[in-house]
Structures are given as C-alpha cells and as structure tokens.
Amino acid sequence: MEDWPETIFALLRKYDVKQVALVPDAGHSRLIRMCLADNAMRVVTLTTEEEGIGMMLGAWLGGQRSVLLMQSSGVGNCINMLSLATLHRTPMPMLVTMRGDYGEFNPAQVPMGQATQPVLEAMGTLVNRADKTEDVGAAVEATLKFAYNTYRPTATLIGQRIIGAKTFGKD
C-alpha cells in the first residue's frame, strides 16, 4: 500500500491541481517534495497562510484549481480572509496537518489546534477528519470534490495520530 502523502499527491494530480500554496509543516514535508518535483504544479511558499486564500481566489478566476497546505496553527491566520470564499463562492480546499491534537508535547500548539475545526466551521468551511492512515485518501478526495464541484471552502484535518507527535527527544 502506498503511504498517505503519495495518496494525496496522486489525488492532486487526478483533480488537475495547478497551484499549490503552502507554509511548510513537517507533516506535509513529503507531499511538498513531490509537488516541487512535478512540473505541472506551481508551488508557492507563502509568508503567512492567509496569502493562500487570496491566491486560490486568483487561481479560480483564471481557471486553475489550487489547494492550500498548512498546519493547524496556520488556520488561525486565515480567518478573515476566508470571507472571500463565501463572498465569491470560490473552491478553496485546505489540507491541514494537525498539531495540538493527540499526544501533543508543545503547549503552544494546543490552543489553536483545539480551535482549528470550530474556527474553520465558523467561517463556512466544510471539514472532515482523517485519524487513520487508511482514511486519508477518501477524506482528501471528498474535500477536493466538495470544493471544486460545489464552490466553497473545504478542509481535511489530518490528525496527529497519523503524523505522530514531535517530542523534541523527550519521549
């Protein structure tokens, strides 16, 4: 069986995603490497995650599909900008690697990690979760389809049970 980052990458290709906006997260590092190696995808590293929301609107205006990759803390940076998705009815799929979620070591990750899903939902985003490796493909595919077919912000939260908790050597 292929690993979950390969599964996501194959889905981005299947759905013809041309612009990949991201602020790096360790959990997304393999997926980011695959996107960078693909000449059909434009990878744009952002200074803050909300830039990706504007970029996804621009991409859709110009007829291209896009996706935003970020960790859960970045969701907080996007809150107001997500108004654009609802206002303009723009497909904005987000793939969020969770921190502050399951076995977290870093106290700073907990407030935003615990608020990630309510905050997205408060801004009109359809959210699903994947907490087992075998669920990632179906969840991400639903998020991409929901966004591109029904014109709205959508998100898959990839749980820390899948990614593993970073323990800074203090297991």
Binding site: R42, L46, T47, E50, E51, G58, A59, G62, H88
Partner: protein, 193 residues
C-alpha cells in the same frame, strides 16, 4: 500629488485584455468610476489580499496582463506578500499602490507611509527589481506600458492626494463579480466547470 481618479483613468486607458483587481474601498470605487466591466474584480473585503489574488490570477493566465490597484493601508496589511510575489515574479503582473498616506475609507487616519515607511524600498528589498515611485502624471504612461508589456513583474507607488472622492459603487454580489470575470476569460464554459 496625483488625483486618484485621473490616475486610474490613465492607467486603465486602452486596456485591451488587461484584468484588474482592486483593493477594498477607494481603489475599488476608482476603477468602477473609470468603467465597470467583467475584467474588473473590485474587492469588498479580504483586506491585505489584493496582491495575492493578482498573483494567483497572473499565474493562471500568463498570456494576459494582470494589474492590482490598491491602497497603502491594504498593501501594508499584506506586506509579506511582496516577498511571496517577488519569488514567483510572474512577468504579466503589475501592482500599483495608490498612496495617500492615510486610511481614507475609515476616516483618514495616518498610515505608516505618512511616517516615512517606504513601500518602494520594501518592494526592492523583497527582490522586485522594477519598483518605482510615481509623483507626476507623465510617469503614468510608462508604467501603463510596462503593465501591458508582460515583460516582468512591476511594482509602483503613486503618491496621490488624500482628498476622498464621490462613491462609485460596483456590484456587491461577490459570486457575480467572480463569475463574470471567469466568463470574460474562459468563455461561457466557465460556468460548467
């Protein structure tokens, strides 16, 4: 000090297939005063996001010139996007900041540019090689030509009069604004995607 409406009129003259994204508030009213068209996306919100919308659009439509017109306050809120955009450097993107050194829309409070913050220097520091200051109307035509040339990312700050102008409001329905621009670019098939 340029007049903001005269500036917008000059920049958008003989615009051909140029697409224009305008930051919320006065810049959106300005491009609408020149003439509302499906090739305009006047923003009603998303403060700080105008330049990034321009980036996504310019990357998706490399054969068309894309112009972002926005305020100094709006540009300052998304100032990090200058770094993001400089790295991508789409040759068909230009950004024009209408710098009145104030948050005009909210009652005329001073912005950082009033206190010496230099947006041209910040753009240059981000790596945008063609970053210019416009203080007279005869500098506008060369900027307009550069925006149409699709020969490199261009950033300009135009110092404008702080006086506010009569409101000229575009449609408020964001779905309409998006759909009409998509149709202008992609044809009626845009609505079947």
């Amino acid at each position: 000090m340029l007049d903001r409406r005269e500036l917008a009129r000059a920049v958008l003259s003989e615009r051909g297939d140029l697409l224009c994204v305008a930051g919320l508030g006065a810049p959106a009213w300005d491009i609408t005063a020149v003439g509302d068209t499906p090739q305009n996306l006047p923003l009603w919100g998303g403060m700080g996001g105008a330049a990034m919308i321009g980036l996504g659009l310019a990357l998706a439509q490399p054969s068309r010139p894309v112009l972002v017109i926005t305020g100094d306050g709006e540009m300052l809120m998304g100032i990090g996007s200058l770094a993001t955009i400089a790295v991508q450097a789409p040759p068909n993107l230009s950004i024009l900041v209408q710098d009145n050194e104030h948050y005009g829309e909210t009652g005329g409070q001073e912005t950082a540019t009033r206190h010496g913050v230099d947006l041209v220097a910040m753009a240059k520091g981000a790596g945008i090689r063609d970053a210019r200051l416009i203080t007279t109307m005869d500098q506008v035509a060369p900027f307009r030509a550069a925006a149409h040339a699709r020969a490199g990312l261009v950033f300009a700050v135009a110092k404008i009069d702080a006086a506010s102008k009569p409101l000229v409001l575009p449609p408020r329905e964001g779905a309409l604004l998006q759909a009409r621009m998509r149709e202008a670019i992609l044809g009626p098939a845009a609505h079947l995607e």
